[in-house]
């Protein structure tokens, strides 16, 4: 890569910024390890899986039910939000008349900014009673998944929309010239061309779903148990930290940071698998 002097300086500056942004993750991981060290020192890692339940005050640190709750809620939210998000992006890009598309996009941008507290608040006061009629207690894994879907849908929709906007018009004209139907054009040309942008959007949305704290805390019921049905009340790792951090001391507080570490390692595993999956279709 032959670069002129100005470009070399620019490249060096950019490399610095990139290192900075990568360093933040390291700092956070270091912080988590430092804070969870007190309990990690004398509690074997296996105990976080084998203990009978999660009662840190009495020294029981079972994390697995919360880990599976986090995974189920994130997976459920992604399964709902991805199709709906991409559908709304397609709607505002190819189906809606321009004025309606503009309003729809403004609405989605607005909802990307609503605080998770408002989603949780609305979930607790309107969604939970409705689901409660279906199957008490109303606050459950299902409510959590629905609220999470609402929260990450704007992220998927907006990134998919931006990715579709970047599909060169020539591609679409070429396909249209072949007499493809609108759906044929979309599924055959537009979506494959925008695939990398859409997957980036889904990754961002997954990140947000895993990291969500307040809304899940208010609607998921927060009982530490292995979820067997959609209507079980569950507690995710993030809700666990938010619920107990305010009043946790000593080992209890360190155990909460261990659940933070557990969460970060699940994110690492997810990112790793996404990386392996994306490696085959190598970017040309």
């Amino acid at each position: 890569m032959s670069l002129s002097r100005a470009d070399k300086q620019l490249a060096a500056l950019l490399r610095g910024c990139a290192l900075l942004s990568a360093a933040i993750v390291l700092l956070i991981l270091l912080f988590l390890v430092k804070e969870s060290w007190p309990v990690l020192r004398h509690v074997a890692l296996t105990r976080f899986v084998t203990d009978t339940s999660w009662h840190p005050v009495d020294g029981l640190y079972k994390l697995t039910p919360m880990l599976s709750a986090t995974l189920y809620s994130t997976l459920g939210a992604l399964l709902l939000a991805t199709p709906l998000g991409i559908a709304s992006a397609l709607f505002s890009r190819y189906y809606a008349p321009p004025f309606l598309a503009g309003c729809y996009r403004r609405l989605i941008e607005l909802l990307a900014g609503i605080p998770s507290v408002v989603y949780g608040f609305w979930g607790l006061t309107t969604l939970a009673p409705l689901i409660g009629r279906l199957h008490p207690p109303g606050v459950s894994l299902l409510t959590g998944i629905l609220v999470l879907t609402l929260m990450i849908l704007p992220t998927v929709a907006l990134t998919a929309d931006a990715a579709l906007a970047a599909v060169p018009v020539a591609y679409l004209r070429g396909a249209a010239a072949l007499g493809l139907s609108r759906w044929g054009l979309i599924s055959g040309v537009a979506l494959p061309a925008a695939r990398s942008g859409i997957t980036a959007g889904i990754m961002l949305a997954a990140g947000r779903a895993i990291g969500e704290t307040m809304a899940v805390l208010m609607v998921a019921g927060n009982v530490v148990q292995q979820p067997h049905s959609l209507f079980d009340s569950v507690r995710t790792l993030t809700a666990n930290i938010a619920l107990e951090m305010a009043y946790a001391t000593g080992d209890h507080r360190a155990a909460l940071f261990v659940s933070g570490l557990a969460l970060m390692s699940t994110v690492l595993v997810l990112v790793g698998t996404a990386e392996v999956l994306s490696r085959e279709r190598h970017h040309d």
């Binding site: 002129s4 500056l13 990139a18 912080f31 990715a163 190598h282």
Partner: protein, 278 residues
């Protein structure tokens, strides 16, 4: 034909479903929030733990926190995105390492950000509970979004521009400033708006960093309560705080509308001036 019709039906259905639920949510906020909304609500300081009085100082704190977050995150984010898409070869180890760490950063829960921000910015850097540490924590949180969307935008620009510019002996930075960034402007602005949306929606992170004080901040080193923290406190800790929680949520949405339209205006202005597209 039926597959096409089915797809059209499904897409219209999902759009109606999505907008229906969101309109239901917004009208819920509007109905409960509108009655208390008045000019005084925007100007006054909160009284009686927020049950009455206005949210003037809180709006100022929120805007300052957003400003600090965006002023730090936007340049670093754009620089990283430019490096990842223009200067680092796609399969370079450094490039992939940075991308993966950003994906992980995007998954960090907001409560962990809050605690990290508290430990790092407030205590370690000695900024204490302040708008500055709140803004910097949000900057860390918003970086992945800004970088990913900017990088996607830059990579979507046709490679021909880079080759044509190089063939004319133009330096990469010149090609970047005059050609690539303007033509990636829509994605950059979309990323910025997503970032602002994420920052203004943040609650847990700010409780531990920008703090709880609802007095008008004198400087960036003063603690300032953000709108989302105010909404959280009113709905969770203050009995009878629901009414003004709804109004504050309404104000937050108005603030977001204003910021989004400014960003859109900037994008159109910037797009029109330098990039004349067919």
């Amino acid at each position: 034909m039926t597959k096409n019709a089915l797809a059209t039906g499904l897409i219209w259905l999902s759009a109606i479903l999505v907008s229906g639920v969101f309109v239901w949510l917004l009208s819920d906020i509007l109905i409960h929030g509108l009655p208390r909304l008045s000019w005084m609500f925007f100007a006054e300081a909160p009284k009686n733990a927020g049950r009455s009085g206005g949210i003037g100082p809180i709006i100022v704190s929120t805007v300052l926190i957003l400003l600090v977050a965006m002023v730090t995150a936007a340049p670093i984010g754009l620089a990283t995105a430019v490096l990842l898409s223009e200067f680092a070869r796609y399969d370079s180890v450094f490039g992939r390492l940075v991308r993966r760490s950003l994906d992980v950063l995007a998954g960090v829960p907001s409560i962990v950000f809050g605690l990290f921000g508290n430990a790092f910015f407030c205590i370690y850097l000695g900024l204490g509970f302040s708008i500055l540490s709140g803004g910097l924590t949000l900057a860390c949180m918003v970086l992945p979004i800004l970088i990913r969307t900017a990088e996607e935008g830059l990579q979507a620009t046709p490679n021909d521009y880079r080759l044509a510019a190089a063939a004319l002996g133009m330096s990469r930075s010149a090609a970047l400033v005059h050609l690539l960034l303007p033509s990636a402007a829509p994605a950059l602005v979309a990323g910025l708006m997503l970032g602002i949306g994420r920052a203004i929606a943040e609650t847990a992170a700010l409780i531990f960093t920008s703090g709880y004080v609802d007095r008008m901040p004198d400087s960036l080193f003063d603690s300032g309560r953000a709108l989302s923290v105010h909404i959280y406190d009113l709905s969770m800790n203050v009995a009878g705080g629901d009414a003004s929680a709804y109004s504050s949520a309404l104000v937050l949405i108005l603030l977001l509308l204003i910021i989004n339209s400014i960003a859109m205006g900037l994008a159109k202005h910037w797009m029109h001036r330098s990039v004349v597209t067919v």
